[in-house]
Amino acid sequence: MSDAADNFRRLIDHYRTMARIRAFEETALSAHKAGEIPGPLHVSIGQEAVATGVCVNLRRGDRLTSNHRGHGHAIAKGAEPARMMAELFGRATGYCGGKGGSMHIADFSVGMLGANGVVAGGIPIACGAAQGLKLQKSDAIVTCMFGDGAVNRGPFLEGLNWAALYRLPVLFVCEDNGVAAFTRADSVTAGPGPLARAIACGVPAESVDGNDVIAVDAIIGSAVAEVRRGHGPRFVHAKTYRLMGHTSTDAAAWRDADEVSAARKRDPLIRFAAVLCERGVAAEALAEIVAEAQAEMVRARADALIAPWPEPAAAFNDVQDVGAAAWPK
């Protein structure tokens, strides 16, 4: 097949991935509203281009650490939405058998080493995973996703210094949606920003428009190549926007309406659809991709709803080997 055809297919795949992430989270939101999903739910609606553009450059054996807003990362890395949805629903068929929920989805079989409920919690873990892989002479790399909030936590400095020091195969991606919970990133981050911090810790860094999946794909593509070649860690700062509130129950009403409506126009799915149309993709073809994605997630929701709950006794499994499967005294 020609390069052009390859490239074209890659773009369509981007769109499909983004549409699936969007559909997954919209479905999850509505299930949450309907009381089908317990616990807090952080959706990444508006940020799909980052997850997509990053993970398309990764192999299955590559590892990924994520944060509390990680559905997109998991789907893009190859996790099955049905098992993710079941996990959100707290069912036995979920990735963690219902023990984790939204903030702790992991699928080790596709290298997804887990979401994390602690901001910046994944950074040291990613460094160590890379160190362990290097020790075992693996050619796999580790991608570490975190938000703008994480750059103000200590492990950011420690981890970047660490990865640079040992020339570890880590790709750091700061998914900067401009806000941490209910606080604007620029109101709590002094100095020139994440990029300068990464460079100051010895990690080569670049910025990208995180709402432009083609740009993300390109910049990550070259960063991944560098990392895989053994040139040490790379850092990409992807600027994006969180269209929804912090959690499913937050209306984010404190944000400037103009800002939000401007951001809606930069919605990565809408922008990318326009690009694809320009390049000759029929609107119907895109609509079909969206419809398929929605159908997949509706099915996932329906399946999750009738999936079995975990046996109560399962609460005592997988604590640790010692004293397993019993009330430990």
Binding site: G39, V118, R153, F182
Partner: protein, 324 residues
């Protein structure tokens, strides 16, 4: 008097103290917006950005800066948002705040209040549900406050803010909505004085924080069956009201401790060991704990239910003690 929720009671107490004393201020994430729980609603407008400080996600520095500010004579309320995140600030809490007065031979006055909403709440899973208050009873240098009602939250928070000792204030997440009557002028409640909730000869039941309403319900169900017990809400586990509990055990001979935290090495163990030490086996005829198994908190409701206390478990435990 106003009937308010527990979280609002805390807000009123902090507000009263900040109005009274200009050296009192609060720092933590999202404080500008009123805090994650609305516990500082209106503070930014009333007290300004210097006294209602919205911080970066920098727990080590939130905690350590609070200490530093106390060393120059202010009285910070250090807001940790959710207890579990204090794990990102343990050096500052354990190695600095708890020890600084002692290490420096009394020169330092670490008059901080560290607020840490703890416990299970709406299936938040393992990293957002922990209760480790027992750890801090084991840590010299700190006060450990564990209220369960709106009234106690208000009075104890006032006491905490006025205290020269560092106070670890565990807000009970699951009880933020319970209501109580808070006075116009909130009086401080002294540390180490238990609140007796019910009276009876059959047994002594001791509890605190989120376990209290469960224990109370269990005790109520027992009463309906004619079994009357002394029920105490400790309110603070360090110091804790040994006199009240010991006096009661001398009457009842039986002791049950109910807490949401893991049973193994929880504070219930200390209460039992201490009471036994004081009264001996001539007096103490039996002692049990109703608490959580030694497992992380699972997400899924039926799994979480395995960890949760229930009035039935409390009732069964008291009956077991009596039968024994």
């Amino acid at each position: 008097m106003a009937e308010v929720t527990l979280i609002e009671a805390g807000r009123l107490a902090a507000q009263q103290e900040m109005r009274r004393d200009p050296t009192v201020w609060v720092l933590g994430e999202d404080v500008a917006r009123g805090g994650l729980w609305g516990q500082y609603k209106g503070f930014l407008d009333e007290f300004g950005t210097d006294r209602a400080v919205s911080t970066p996600i920098s727990e080590s520095t939130i905690m350590g800066a609070g200490l530093g500010a106390a060393l120059v004579g202010t009285r910070p309320i250090i807001e940790m948002r959710i207890f579990d995140f204090v794990m990102c600030a343990m050096d500052e809490l354990v190695n600095q705040i708890a020890k600084i007065r002692y290490m420096f031979g009394g020169q330092a006055k670490p008059a901080v209040v560290v607020r840490m909403p703890h416990g299970m709440w709406r299936n938040s899973a393992a990293q957002h549900s922990q209760m480790l208050e027992a750890w801090f009873a084991h840590l010299p240098g700190v006060i450990v406050v564990t209220p369960s009602t709106a009234e106690d939250t208000a009075g104890l928070l006032v006491q905490a803010i006025r205290s020269d000792d560092p106070v670890l204030f565990f807000d009970p997440k699951d009880l933020f909505g319970v209501r109580g009557n808070v006075a116009e002028q909130i009086e401080p409640i002294p540390f180490g004085v238990a609140r007796q909730v019910t009276e009876g000869d059959a047994a002594t039941v001791v509890s605190w924080s989120t376990a209290m309403p469960v224990a109370a319900k269990g005790v109520e169900m027992l009463a309906e069956e004619g079994v009357k017990v002394d029920l105490f809400d400790l309110r603070t586990i360090w110091p804790w009201d040994q006199a009240a509990v010991i006096a009661s055990v001398k009457k009842t001979g039986l002791l049950l401790v109910v807490h949401e935290a893991v049973e193994v090495s929880g504070f219930g163990a200390e209460i039992i060991a201490r009471v036994l030490d004081e009264v001996g086996t001539g007096v103490l005829k039996g002692a049990k704990r109703v608490a959580a198994p030694r497992i992380p908190i699972p997400f899924s409701p039926p799994l979480e239910a395995e960890v949760r206390l229930s009035p039935e478990k409390v009732m069964t435990a008291v009956k077991g003690l009596i039968a024994f």
